[in-house]
C-alpha cells in the first residue's frame, strides 16, 4: 500500500532526510521518501501494518520538526 502526505511548513532539508531515514527503519516499511522540495511524504508498506506505520511516521515528523502540519494528499 502506498500513502502520500503533504508536510506543510517543512523548513529544513537536513530534517527531511532525517525523517526519511527514521521512517525507512520502521517495521513493515518497504520504501519511504520525504521530498523536501515538494514537501511530500510517500510511504510504501505492508497493508496490515500501515495504520501503525502511519502513526509512527507522524510521531517522527513531529519530533524532528514540531511545527509541521501533516495533511493527507
Amino acid at each position: 500500500m502506498k500513502k502520500t502526505f503533504r508536510l506543510e511548513g517543512l523548513g529544513c532539508a537536513n530534517c527531511a532526510s532525517k525523517m526519511e531515514r527514521a521512517i525507512n527503519e520502521l517495521d513493515g516499511v518497504q520504501n519511504a521518501t520525504v521530498n523536501f522540495m515538494t514537501t511530500k511524504m510517500v510511504i510504501e508498506g505492508e497493508d496490515e501494518k500501515m495504520p501503525v506505520i502511519v502513526e509512527a511516521a507522524e510521531k517522527i515528523v513531529k519530533k524532528i520538526e514540531p511545527d509541521v502540519v501533516i495533511k493527507k494528499a
Binding site: G11, C12, A13, N14, S17, N35, F36, M37, K63
Partner: protein
C-alpha cells in the same frame, strides 16, 4: 517570514547601536548586545532547549545557541550576536529561496484542471475531473483548461499546448482531433467525448512524473546526505577536544582562547549549505527542463545524462516523421498530373500507408464510378481498369512479371511503377521524410562532446545509409528485426568507456525493450503516447530530436552547478576549520563559512532553473 525579517532588522539596528556607542560605558553596551541577541535569537535558543530535551545533540539550533552564548562567556559580545544575527539572515534567505522554487514548481503544477463541464441533457454541470467517466460528453469554453483526454465531436478551435510541450505555437483542432488534458482552449467552444479517466489522463501522468522525479536521488545527493550525517558529529567532537585538551596540555594556553576556537568550529559545523543546495540544483534542472517540454523522471537520470558518450537513434518516428509522402513523380510520355491521378485511382481501394500517401498527394476526390475490376496482387501491386484502360501499378517484380520495360535507377524509398495498357508511363517515389531539425540535432550532439552517433533501423540498407549520410550519423545498422536491435545495443554498450553512458532514443512504439536496456532511454513525441511515458527515463514531449541535445546541455549545466557547490562549500568549510584551529580565523570568518556559503550556494543552484538559452 515577515515577522523574522522585522526581528532581524530591529535586532540589527540595536546591534549596530551597541557597536558604535562609546565603549566607556561597558554596562550599557553589554545591555544593548544582550537585547539584540534576545530579539534575534530567542526562538533559536527556545528550539534548542526543546530539542535537547528530546536528546538531539547535533541539532543546528543547539549548536548555534552554544556557539553564540559561549562567545558571550569568553567576552566576545559582538561575535556572539553576529553569529545569531547572520544565522537568522541565512535561514531567512534559505526559506525565501526554497519557497520561490517551490512556487515555480507549483506553477508547473498549474496545469491541473479544477473542474470539467459535463453535459447532462441540456445542462452543463461543473464536475470534479475525478468523477467524470469514459464516454461522458464535456464542453470546454474559451480560456478553459482541457480537463480530461478526449476526442472532439463538435466545434473547432486553437489550443495552447505550451504547458505540456514548451511549444509556443498554438495547435489547430477540429472534429475528430484528439484532445490532451492540460492544454488550454484559446478561442472556440469545443464539445468532446472523454476517452480516459482522469487518473489515466495525460495531465495526471505528467504531474505524477514531475512530482516524483526528485525521489530518485542522484549520486551527488546521496553523497551529500551521507556526508552531512558524519560531518556534524565529527566537527562537534573535534570542537570539544579543542576546547578542553590544549589548555591542559600546552603550557601557557588559555581556556578562553581555545574555547573561542572551538566555538568557531561549532558555527561551521552545520551542513545546511550542502544539504539544501544540491537537491535544489537538481530540482531546478528538472523543473527548467520540463518547461521546455523535456520530462526527466529522476535526478539520477539527469545526472548520468551528462556522461553520455554514445547516442543511438531509432530511425522511423525519431529522426524521420514516420509518415510516408510522395517525394517524386516521374512520368514517361504523360503529364505529372495524369500519372498521379492514375496511380491514386488504381491504389484507391487499399488502406496501405503507400495508398494513403498517394491519395493525400492527389488531393482531389476519387470518383469510384471510373474504376472497374480492381485486383490486388499481394507482394506485387494492383491491377485495375480505369476509364476502360487497363492500369497496373506496383513494384519492379510486377513490371518484370508482366515483362514491361521500366526505368531503373538508384531510387531510395518505395517506388510505384505504373503501366497503362502494357505501356510504361513512369514511376512515383514515396518515402518517409526526415524531420526538419534532425541534422541540427546530430550537429549539436557532436558539439556537446558526444563521441558516437548510431542509427538502428528495420528499413532497407539503401534507405538507412542515405538518411545517415544526410544527417551525418557515424554508424548505421539496417534491416534489423526488433530483437536484433537489443542485440546491437548490447554490442554498443561494450564499446563505451566504463564511465560513459549510452542513450537510446526511440518513439516508444515497439522499442520498449531497447529503451529499458540502454543506460538512459529517451522517448520522443511523448505527447499522447502512454507507452513512451511508461518505458522511458526521459520523455521529450514534442517531435523535435534537437531537444536531446538540449537535455544533455541541461544535464551538464546542472551537474556542473552541483559539483561547484560541493567543492566550494566543503573547501571553504575545511579551510575555515583549519584556520580557526590554528587561531588564525575569527568567528566572523566562521559565520561567513556558514551563512555566506549557504547563500552563495543557493544563488548558484538557482541558475539551474534557467534553461532558456540552452
Amino acid at each position: 517570514m515577515k515577522k523574522s525579517l522585522w526581528r532581524i532588522i530591529i535586532g540589527g539596528i540595536v546591534f549596530i547601536a551597541a557597536i558604535i556607542i562609546n565603549s566607556n560605558n561597558t554596562w550599557l553596551q553589554l545591555a544593548l548586545f544582550v537585547t539584540s541577541y534576545i530579539i534575534v535569537g530567542s526562538d533559536v535558543v527556545m528550539r534548542a532547549v526543546r530539542n535537547i530535551l528530546k536528546g538531539d545533540v547535533f541539532d543546528e539550533n543547539f549548536l548555534m545557541s552554544i556557539a553564540s552564548i559561549g562567545a558571550f562567556f569568553v567576552g566576545e559580545f559582538p561575535e556572539g550576536v553576529a553569529v545569531m544575527l547572520f544565522y537568522q539572515v541565512g535561514e531567512l534567505f534559505q526559506s525565501y529561496a526554497v519557497n520561490k522554487s517551490r512556487k515555480s514548481i507549483a506553477s508547473l503544477m498549474d496545469i491541473r484542471p479544477d473542474y470539467a463541464n459535463v453535459k447532462k441533457g441540456d445542462e452543463l454541470v461543473k464536475t470534479d475531473p475525478d468523477d467524470v467517466h469514459i464516454g461522458d460528453i464535456i464542453v470546454i469554453k474559451a480560456g478553459e483548461k482541457i480537463p480530461l483526454d478526449g476526442i472532439v465531436i463538435d466545434g473547432s478551435s486553437t489550443i495552447d499546448t505550451s504547458a505540456l510541450t514548451g511549444e509556443s505555437l498554438p495547435r489547430e483542432i477540429e472534429v475528430g482531433s484528439n484532445l490532451l488534458s492540460g492544454c488550454i482552449n484559446i478561442n472556440g467552444v469545443i464539445t468532446a467525448e472523454v476517452t480516459k479517466e482522469f487518473g489515466e489522463s495525460t495531465v495526471s501522468k505528467i504531474l505524477d512524473l514531475v512530482e516524483n522525479a526528485s525521489s530518485k536521488k542522484s549520486n551527488s545527493e546521496q553523497f551529500i546526505t551521507k556526508f552531512a550525517r558524519y560531518y556534524t558529529p565529527i566537527v562537534v567532537i573535534i570542537a570539544f577536544i579543542l576546547a578542553v585538551v590544549p589548555p591542559l596540555v600546552i603550557k601557557g594556553a588559555t581556556f578562553s582562547d581555545w574555547i573561542y576556537r572551538a566555538l568557531s568550529f561549532l558555527v561551521v559545523s552545520c551542513p545546511c549549505a550542502l544539504v539544501i543546495s544540491i537537491p535544489l540544483s537538481f530540482f531546478g534542472g528538472i523543473g527548467g527542463a520540463s518547461r521546455v517540454g523535456i520530462l526527466v523522471k529522476g535526478s539520477n537520470y539527469l545526472e548520468i545524462l551528462a556522461q553520455t558518450e554514445i547516442v543511438v537513434f531509432d530511425k522511423t518516428g525519431t529522426l524521420t516523421k514516420g509518415v510516408f509522402n510522395v517525394q517524386e513523380v516521374h512520368p514517361d510520355g504523360i503529364s505529372k498530373e495524369e500519372l498521379l491521378e492514375l496511380t491514386a485511382y488504381a491504389e484507391s481501394y487499399s488502406n496501405h500507408p503507400i495508398s494513403l500517401s498517394l491519395k493525400r498527394a492527389y488531393k482531389k476526390v476519387i470518383d469510384n464510378g471510373r474504376i472497374t475490376n480492381v485486383e490486388e496482387i499481394p507482394g506485387y501491386g494492383v491491377n485495375a481498369t480505369i476509364d476502360g484502360k487497363k492500369v497496373i501499378a506496383g513494384n519492379i517484380k510486377l513490371m518484370e512479371k508482366m515483362s514491361i520495360p521500366y526505368l531503373k535507377g538508384e531510387l531510395i524509398g518505395t517506388v510505384v511503377h505504373v503501366a497503362v495498357d502494357n505501356k510504361y508511363v513512369g514511376y512515383i517515389l514515396i518515402a518517409d521524410e526526415i524531420k526538419q531539425d534532425a541534422a541540427l540535432a546530430i550537429k549539436e550532439l557532436k558539439a556537446s562532446n558526444i563521441k558516437q552517433t548510431v542509427m538502428l533501423t528495420g528499413d532497407t540498407k539503401n534507405v538507412g545509409f542515405k538518411v545517415a549520410k544526410e544527417l551525418g550519423i557515424d554508424k548505421v545498422y539496417a534491416e534489423l528485426l526488433p530483437a536484433d536491435k537489443v542485440e546491437k545495443l548490447e554490442e554498443l554498450l561494450l564499446q563505451k568507456s566504463p564511465k560513459g553512458k549510452l542513450v537510446f532514443v526511440g518513439d516508444g512504439i515497439n522499442d520498449a525493450p531497447v529503451l529499458a536496456r540502454a543506460d538512459i532511454g529517451i522517448a520522443m513525441g511523448g505527447l499522447g503516447s502512454d507507452a513512451a511515458i511508461e518505458a522511458a527515463d526521459i520523455v521529450i514531449m514534442t517531435d523535435e530530436p534537437s531537444k536531446i541535445a538540449t537535455a544533455i546541455r541541461v544535464s551538464q549545466k546542472t551537474l556542473k552547478i552541483a559539483q561547484q557547490n560541493i567543492v566550494f562549500a566543503i573547501s571553504i568549510k575545511i579551510l575555515v576549520l583549519i584556520l580557526s584551529a590554528l587561531g588564525l580565523a575569527t568567528m566572523w570568518a566562521a559565520v561567513f563559512a556558514d551563512v555566506g556559503v549557504t547563500i552563495i550556494a543557493i544563488l548558484n543552484a538557482f541558475r539551474a532553473l534557467n534553461v532558456k538559452n540552452l
